[in-house]
């Protein structure tokens, strides 16, 4: 059986779901989520795809008189980028999304 949904919470949830504030919150958070997820998958895809199909480029030295190849720099860059993208998400969540969420709670839920 499906989880029982009480009448009262069903109404409350529906009011929240249909509210403009919640809609804004959902759009904003999902946009950030999807854009950043796409970026991560693209970066990982470039890394794996590069290794799979352009392995010679990965093996070439990054600069003259150096033995360290592009691949090592690229790997380090990918690792740093992953953490940086997470930092961006945390920052946006706390600076922007949290305000929208607080607005939903104060204007829709508490008023209701």
């Amino acid at each position: 059986m499906n989880q029982v949904v009480s009448g009262e919470s069903q109404v409350d949830a529906q009011i929240v779901r249909n509210s403009k504030q919640f809609h804004q919150l959902l759009i904003a958070r999902n946009s950030i989520r999807y854009i950043l997820t796409t970026l991560v998958i693209a970066i990982h895809g470039f890394f794996i795809g590069g290794i799979a199909f352009y392995n010679e480029w990965f093996g070439q030295p990054y600069k003259e008189n150096s033995i360290i190849p592009n691949g090592i720099y690229f790997t380090v860059l990918v690792i740093i980028l992953m953490v940086l993208l997470e930092f961006v998400y945390i920052l946006l969540s706390e600076k922007k999304i949290q305000k929208l969420q607080d607005k939903v709670v104060s204007e829709v839920i508490n008023n209701d």
């Binding site: 059986m1 499906n2 989880q3 949904v5 919470s9 069903q10 409350d12 949830a13 529906q14 929240v16 779901r17 919640f22 919150l25 959902l26 958070r29 950030i32 989520r33 950043l36 997820t37 991560v40 998958i41 970066i43 990982h44 890394f47 794996i48 795809g49 290794i51 799979a52 199909f53 392995n55 010679e56 990965f58 093996g59 150096s66 033995i67 360290i68 190849p69 691949g71 090592i72 790997t75 380090v76 990918v78 690792i79 740093i80 992953m82 953490v83 993208l85 997470e86 930092f87 998400y89 945390i90 969540s93 706390e94 949290q98 969420q101 939903v104 709670v105 839920i109």
Partner: protein, 557 residues
């Protein structure tokens, strides 16, 4: 005398007996280092200190572990920094540290694919999983998928995915632990596996998730300290010239400059892609990792936990690159570390030998003890996740329809932890002479093909129905197991056939889309009344998932 005291005293006596065995055992590592007594003494001292500290933690945690909630999720009172460190500890396993550096040692650049693959799932975990999972679940990830789908059928599939992932991961860890400890401490394999089992039972049954989290935190910090020390010593020895490390590595490695180029290990591009997919999406379905999201008080803490964990892991993997190439430069040219042209203990021991090369017996002893501690902590986390699946998902939710006798549930939780650990130890001993590489592959592939797609669609796709979830989950499960069996690791290496029926070891590139596609098609065509109910509950779920407030949250954390 109280039960925790008795358990700890028995454990200490057992350990004393085990380590007296160590003192007399043949020490293979002696051949490598010629300083075995110093080495073992350091390793045993550091390890004993770790065990004493973690037993004290378990004793302390036992005073707060008196309900199912405190057992499964430490009552949701872990801070984000603590949880982040524990999550990082869960993922910085012996396989990550020894395996990746060992792979770089043997083939060079291709080892980095695993480092990036392991890390790249974490941002996705943060963006699309952490907040919603935290807000919709209570103790396990199956709580999340049953928020709006029909409980019994979906829980059956989720339990299948969860238990198989946990058990396979457990066996792989225990077999690895036995081999590693046998080599590092000279302890017989069976003793090593039983020692791990006994310690983990103490941690888990006494202190539940709280003890497991703190054991993981201590271990993670020790591991980070160890690898940081190693990297500082490596840089000092190379006069802070990283270029010279790579030059030396190319000079001494039999494959010369080819170690700087991809393609040695994964000559087939599809192999590289499917490994990347398995690692990235496998992470998103690992029950013991997902369970950690429920140990923090709210979605903000869950979010920060993942960020802290990724930061620590990013640092760890960056150092692993240095350690991998430095192990070529410092170890490969030293004949003392080889016997019959093979690295003593196999290539997985490259980092351990490197620690001896740069820091002598003291650092090697420390790193060896930390490697052992790593396995203990990871196994403890797996046992908590597995016992929660049995007692919460199976007993409380399925058999008791969500209204269990709470005391009985806690007893079942502890009992299932002991049983699971016992099964793990037995299987670990049974499989000791087998090639268990395929067991290490299975959890990630199953997690990517069963748990992850069900979770993703349950949280984000309104039209998803229970029938779709069950059908797709089963397709993911059966296809993962079948393709792994038909792949080179089982079909050729274990069964002994000349050619594999399926060419890839990690089939998630094929099984994940198969599961997703089945879920989508079956859900699209599902016009049943129950499917309509599943869809109707979606809006309520979205509100709960985004806000985590009492308006629609089914459970009070």
């Amino acid at each position: 005398m109280t039960r925790p005291n008795l358990a700890i005293i028995s454990c200490l006596s057992f350990l004393l007996a085990v380590f007296s065995k160590v003192a007399n055992a043949n020490q293979k590592i002696t051949e490598a280092a010629a300083t075995s007594h110093e080495l073992n003494l350091t390793a045993v001292i550091v390890f004993c200190l770790f065990v004493i500290l973690t037993l004290m933690i378990s004793y302390w945690a036992s005073q707060y572990t008196n309900s199912s909630s405190s057992f499964y999720t430490a009552g949701g009172n872990i801070t984000s920094a603590q949880n982040g460190t524990a999550i990082a500890g869960d993922f910085m396993s012996a396989a990550s540290f020894l395996g990746i550096s060992g792979l770089i040692f043997s083939v060079g650049f291709d080892g980095l694919i695993l480092a990036v693959g392991a890390l790249s799932g974490w941002p996705v975990m943060l963006f699309i999983m952490s907040e919603r999972v935290r807000n919709l679940g209570r103790y396990t990830f199956t709580d999340v998928v049953t928020y709006r789908l029909q409980k019994k059928p979906i829980r059956s599939v989720a339990i299948l995915g969860s238990i198989s992932v946990t058990l396979l991961y457990l066996i792989a860890q225990l077999v690895g632990a036995g081999k590693l400890i046998e080599l590092l401490f000279g302890l017989p394999y069976e003793y090593a596996v039983v020692a791990v089992g006994v310690l983990v039972i103490i941690y888990v049954t006494l202190g539940g998730m709280l003890a497991t989290t703190w054991v993981q935190i201590v271990k993670a910090l020790l591991l980070l300290l160890g690898v940081s020390l190693m990297s500082i010593l490596i840089l000092m020895l190379s006069e802070f010239n990283i270029e010279s490390i790579f030059e030396k590595a190319v000079e001494v490695h039999p494959r010369a400059e080819k170690i700087l180029q991809p393609g040695s290990l994964f000559s087939d591009p599809v192999q590289a892609i499917t490994i990347g997919v398995s690692m990235m999406f496998g992470l998103l379905g690992l029950p013991h990792i997902l369970m950690r999201l429920f140990t923090v008080p709210n979605m903000n803490s869950a979010r920060k936990s993942i960020f802290y964990a990724s930061g620590l892991m990013g640092y760890f993997y960056l150092i692993t690159i240095l350690i991998g190439f430095a192990s070529i430069a410092f170890v490969m040219s030293e004949p003392d570390y080889f016997t019959e042209s093979q690295l003593i203990g196999g290539t997985n021991m490259a980092a351990v030998h490197l620690s001896h090369a740069v820091g002598g017996s003291l650092l090697m002893g420390f790193i060896s003890a930390v490697a052992f501690a790593t396995i203990l902590a990871v196994v403890a986390g797996l046992i908590v996740a597995g016992s929660a699946t049995i007692s919460h998902d199976l007993y409380a939710e399925m058999l008791c329809n969500g209204a269990p006798d709470l005391e009985k549930e806690l007893r079942i939780t502890k009992f299932s932890a002991v049983i699971l650990c016992g099964i793990g130890v037995l299987l670990g001993i049974v499989f000791q002479h087998q090639n268990v590489a395929f067991i290490a592959v299975m959890p990630l592939v199953i997690a990517a093909s069963v748990n992850f797609p069900i979770l993703l669609l349950a949280m984000y796709w309104k039209k998803f129905s229970t029938r779709g979830a069950v059908a797709g989950g089963l397709v993911g499960f059966v296809s993962s197991i079948s393709l792994i069996i038909m792949g080179p690791k089982v079909w050729v290496s274990i069964i002994g056939a000349s050619e594999a029926l399926f060419p890839y070891d990690y089939p998630a590139l094929f099984t994940l889309p198969a599961a997703l596609l089945t879920m989508i098609i079956v859900s699209k065509f599902d016009k049943s009344e129950s499917a309509e109910m599943d869809r109707k509950a979606f809006d309520r779920q979205v509100v709960a998932a985004e806000l985590g407030t009492s308006v629609s949250a089914p459970v009070n954390h």
